[in-house]
């Protein structure tokens, strides 16, 4: 189809200002999403300066009217040279990974239970999973501050039961971060799992049982493989925000729970080192993009076979 006839078709069938329909949101996203990135990229190659903004220019017109581009790779060298940053990346991946796994272990049976509940109950339970999402994320994380405190109800309960003799240090530990992560992102895990399990044809399970499969085998050979897409989506939805999370480690984690989101924040706000913060952001972005592409490729390969 050539451009003229396409345009004619568009003029005919769509609102006459049809091209603006595309242009307005497109321009918005270009201006406020794509260009900001390019700026981050640019600043990640800049030198820090004592000014506002605290960076040296990258593109400079010299006196001979020649455009000079001053790229400094030192920020990336700094990021990869300092074990603190490497550790922050590793910690982020570990905490996000473990949290995702925990959320999956808890979320799968829950999603299963909801999907198989009597239809009247199903909507109510579904709503109960969604509801926390609508209440403030920050306040829900905050709730754990009280619960996990030295004199909080959890320690109180454990003391009362005689399981411990003095209050445990629960806050400001990785444990608290795991709790906060699973707690905050559990709904993201349950929703895709729920829709995958609900779609599952029950006849398949009955057929498998009819052909002599034991219940556990039915689960591992039929249910699990057929809900793989839901598992995939759920894990992605938990892992991605968890890797870059700031609030949870900042509130519940200890000083040594260094996650990358928190490091970027601190570099930016505390150290005012915009170039290093930008370099960290770029590395995090590449990491995430690589992960998403890898998963896509795995998925594509599975579909192909």
């Amino acid at each position: 189809m050539n451009l003229a006839s396409l345009k004619r078709a568009a003029q005919r069938l769509l609102p006459s200002g049809g091209w603006y329909v595309i242009a307005i949101p497109y321009l918005w996203l270009l201006l406020f999403f794509l260009i900001p990135f390019l700026i981050v990229l640019k600043i990640s190659f800049a030198n820090i300066a004592l000014a506002m903004p605290p960076v040296e220019p990258v593109f400079v017109w010299t006196q001979e009217q020649i455009l000079q581009i001053r790229l400094h790779f030192s920020n990336f060298g700094f990021v990869f040279g300092d074990s603190l940053y490497i550790e922050a990346f590793l910690t982020s991946v570990r905490i996000a990974g473990v949290s995702t796994l925990l959320a999956l272990l808890l979320g799968y049976p829950m999603a299963y239970g909801i999907a198989r509940a009597p239809s009247g109950w199903r909507n109510v339970l579904f709503l109960l999973v969604v509801l926390p999402f609508f209440t403030s994320f920050l306040l829900r994380v905050y709730a754990w501050l009280g619960l996990l405190g030295r004199s909080g109800p959890l320690n109180g309960l454990l003391l009362h039961l005689g399981l411990i003799h003095e209050p445990l240090q629960l806050l400001q530990t990785d444990f608290a971060v795991y709790v906060g992560m699973v707690y905050s992102y559990l709904p993201f895990m349950i929703l895709p799992l729920y829709s995958a399990i609900e779609k599952l044809d029950l006849n398949l399970l009955e057929a498998a049982a009819d052909l002599g499969c034991r219940p556990a085998q039915v689960f591992f050979k039929i249910t699990l493989p057929l809900t793989k897409e839901g598992i995939f989506a759920g894990c992605l939805l938990v892992f991605i925000p968890a890797v870059g999370e700031y609030v949870i480690p900042a509130l519940l984690g200890g000083p040594d729970t260094l996650m990358i989101g928190r490091v970027v924040w601190d570099e930016f706000f505390a150290n005012r080192d915009w170039p290093v913060a930008s370099a960290l952001a770029i590395v995090l972005l590449v990491l995430l993009a690589g992960l998403v592409l890898l998963l896509q490729r795995i998925q594509a390969r599975e579909e192909a076979t």
Partner: protein, 283 residues
């Protein structure tokens, strides 16, 4: 279902829902606790509504809430307009150059860590101020722009999903009967996707109302939103008036969501009854 598995499922559900709701319930209960040491229950003077009273005397908090509400409303409206346009473009114009890039651009803000979005937008605003002199400083305007940028992605997903279910021939029928394209959009398409747009609005509102990280990057000294205020407070430890605030917000949201849920169940029942009626009427 076999016994062992149903036991696993049942205990996971009991534990899971307790896990989801006990912290919220505890927070609500402690909001009536007279003791300043939030987690120690003062059985003599409790329950008390002292913290609620304090909440409403706290002008800084009320101002922050008002600002957050303003930003969230503007953001939701802007995100819905832009998001609906984008969703419409993606659903209806199958063949335009840069469609793939557009698709990526619309979904990327959802998967991007908030620190990156916040950082990049701040750098943009600084660069813009330097080059074109706008926006002057950071505040409600920059926060709103930042919120629209990331929350419109969610609106796009919701509206696009609904548009995909709209039978195109309904719009063609309206064209065929003499309605001009913009009118078709206004009187046919828009009413058909209205509930998706409403959901998108609510979601965008909540995302903005809740956001801390992006806001912190792009806000200025004169603009403190509610999450920023809460965060600066809870960073120093627990504080009983925050419990009271959380209780109010949770109850508010629960009421809204529950009534929306009940309304939807009723509408579904009515629809089934109508269909039944048509069936019994025959031909």
């Amino acid at each position: 279902m076999n016994e062992r598995r149903s036991l696993v499922v049942l205990s996971a559900m009991v534990f899971g829902f307790a896990f989801l709701y006990l912290p919220i319930l505890a927070m609500m209960v402690y909001s009536f606790n007279a003791s300043r040491l939030v987690t120690v229950w003062d059985s003599v003077n409790s329950p008390t509504i002292a913290w609620y009273r304090e909440l409403f005397d706290n002008t800084a908090l009320l101002d922050a809430a008002r600002l957050s509400f303003q930003i969230a409303t503007t953001n939701a409206t802007g995100a819905v307009i832009l998001g609906t346009l984008a969703a419409y473009a993606l659903d209806r114009y199958r063949l335009f150059k840069g469609r793939g890039a557009f698709n990526v651009l619309t979904t990327a803000p959802m998967v991007l860590p908030e620190v990156i979005t916040g950082l990049s937008l701040l750098l943009l605003f600084v660069a813009l101020e330097q080059t074109v002199g706008w926006p002057r400083g950071r505040g409600a305007v920059t926060i709103t722009i930042a919120h629209i940028t990331f929350s419109m992605a969610y609106v796009i997903v919701i509206v696009k999903a609904r548009l995909a279910t709209v039978d195109r021939s309904i719009e063609e029928a309206a064209l065929d009967l003499g309605a001009r394209p913009w009118k078709v959009f206004a009187v046919i398409t828009l009413p058909l996707i209205a509930s998706a747009i409403a959901s998108g609005w609510v979601l965008a509102f909540i995302l903005s109302w809740d956001d801390l990280v992006i806001t912190s990057f792009v806000s200025g000294p004169s603009s403190t939103t509610l999450p920023q205020l809460v965060f600066s407070k809870v960073r120093l430890g627990i504080s009983p008036d925050i419990n009271a605030l959380a209780t109010i917000l949770v109850l508010l949201v629960t009421t809204c969501v529950a009534s929306a849920g009940i309304y939807m169940v009723r509408a579904e029942r009515r629809r089934l009854r109508d269909a039944q009626m048509a069936f019994e009427d025959g031909v």
